[in-house]
Amino acid sequence: MLEVKGLSKDYGGLRAVDDVKFALQPGDVFGFIGSNGAGKTTTIRMLATLLEPTEGTASLNGCDILDDPMGVRRQIGYMPDFFGLYDDVKVWEYLDFFATIYSVPGRQRPKVIDDVLELTNLTGKKEAFVQTLSRGMQQRLCLARCLVHDPTLLLLDEPASGLDPRARAELKELIAELGRMGKIVIVSSHILPELAGFCNTVGIIERGELLAFGPVDQIVRQVQVARILEARILDRAGEAASMLCGVPSVASVAPIDEQKLRIEFHGSLDEQADLLSRLIATGFRVVDFRELEANLEDVFLKLTTGAVN
């Protein structure tokens, strides 16, 4: 398991990462969300043992990134946000080079290379030169390179940036598969919908601070200070609105059109049921009464504009 214990990083006077703490278990696919400059890359590079933290540390299956970087390096696969590949080498030669560096025994290397090529759907490109691959394939080759030593933690920094929708979908599928294989996967992105589908855990970082961390649905609930209800009342919607305004757990009511009302509500589910009974008991003809599902995007926008804290 990965434990991140209060990682911080200062660049001169700027605190790029501030006391980030979280823990992940094997099989977790962690979506690390934040706008540009939020500190995702810095955090990931510290976990990859490339940057020295100003404070704090992290440990992966008992290896500390400061005390035993070699132990950590043996267990991680790191894919930077920008990377290059060697020219004039074939795909299998490229993988063979890194398999050697990771001390994969010579006899196992051909099989390992075939396996990662198959996993990343590059088997047909084994003999191709790396510079002839498309951007999406290069991305997958880089991921294949991360996998030659069967790492327990994958650090993928904005892996989907610059990919077309199709390549992006393939990459998502691949990342989900890695999670099913029992690896810890950290995927960063500044685009939310990219992560929403296949992450089981998310963290939202803003100005270096981890504002929220946990399972996707929990985060959505935790962050929703006020839930948004939508009611459709056939007539006298205006009257209903003034009545609702008088209810203590209703923060505000705004008409959407002649019939629909948007209710900002921070009561419990019980209170929500009472609200509906009251509307009906008062004689309003309610045809629709539901909670609008907040998604990660709302949560993100809310958190990063400072609506929380």
Binding site: T49, L50, L51, I65, L66, Y86, F97, S103
Partner: protein, 295 residues
């Protein structure tokens, strides 16, 4: 250096895989490899042809100076991109996050280049051998010929000593270029710095100072001392052990092994310095290293 770390660097170093990559890069029929292979093949072929055609007129020194001259730009040419180029191409981080030490990375690249240098030295033995044979044929003809005069010939031992001197010098240049490549942000800067250092130290400086030694006797010793480790000067003394009259201030015996020793020490120095310099990942932020983690 204890035995385990020696083995870690030179025997069980996964980065020795660089040897194969270097060979593919510079000695193959694809991409850059095609250019370098054809280029050096052509130079070597020409040298060989010339030596065979004019066997009894070409001194071994000609081959040795050619080798020395080639080494002066082969080393910078193949190594200036070794580290700076990886940073530029953003492939450097992949090596830094791998379970290899900085020393292993640098030594792996160094050994890959040294293999090239050794290959060159071995290839050069062929034209060198031809000149030695031609020389002994000429010596016999001139000694037993009508005028009884013969030009001095170069002994086998001295020739091999010169070969060794040139090889260690070339290896030192590899270590130096690697050091500049670790230091410089851009590979072109590393190339410029290496070539510049070589031209200034081993061509411009001697060309400017050595003529002064002829004129002023007081300065002679100091000027020769300053050029003591110039391989061109050293090779000329090694090849001409018993000149008819010797006017140097520094005895001819000081040329040969002392330079070889100096080049070996300088190699170790440059390598150690290069290893210390490899602190920065792609984006030049200091990464974990130094006292806390010997990474």
């Amino acid at each position: 250096m204890n035995r385990t770390s020696w083995g870690q660097l030179f025997v069980h170093n996964p980065m020795l895989v660089e040897i194969a990559r270097f060979r593919r890069k510079y000695l193959s029929l694809r991409g850059t490899g095609l250019v370098t292979t054809v280029f050096f093949g052509a130079i070597y072929g020409l040298l060989l042809l010339m030596v065979i055609r004019f066997a009894d007129n070409v001194e071994p020194a000609v081959v040795l100076y050619a080798e020395l001259g080639l080494a002066c730009f082969i080393a910078p040419a193949i190594l200036h991109t070794a580290i700076a180029g990886e940073r530029e191409k953003r492939t450097w981080d992949f090596l830094l996050v791998a379970p290899v030490t900085r020393a292993q990375i640098v030594v792996g690249k160094f050994i890959a280049a040294v293999q090239g240098i050794i290959a060159m030295a071995v290839l050069m033995l062929l034209p060198l051998g031809v000149t030695l044979l031609g020389q002994s044929a000429r010596f016999q003809r001139e000694t037993w010929g009508w005028d009884g005069y013969s030009r001095p010939t170069t002994g086998l031992y001295d020739t091999l000593l010169a070969v060794l001197l040139i090889a260690t010098f070339a290896i030192m240049l590899c270590a130096m270029t690697l050091f500049f490549s670790a230091r410089c942000k851009r590979s072109l800067m590393a190339l410029g710095a290496s070539l510049g250092a070589i031209v200034v130290a081993f061509a411009l400086f001697p060309l400017l100072t050595l003529p002064l030694a002829e004129d002023s006797f007081e300065w002679k010793f100091w000027i020769e001392l300053c050029n003591l480790f110039n391989p061109f000067v050293a090779v000329s003394h090694v090849l001409d052990r018993n000149p008819t009259y010797y006017e140097g201030a520094i005895p001819a015996a000081f040329y040969g092994w002392p330079q070889i020793g100096f080049y070996v020490l300088a190699t170790i120095g440059f390598l150690a310095w290069a290893i210390k310099t490899v602190h920065w990942p792609d984006n030049e932020k200091k990464f974990i290293g130094g006292k806390r983690a010997r990474g």
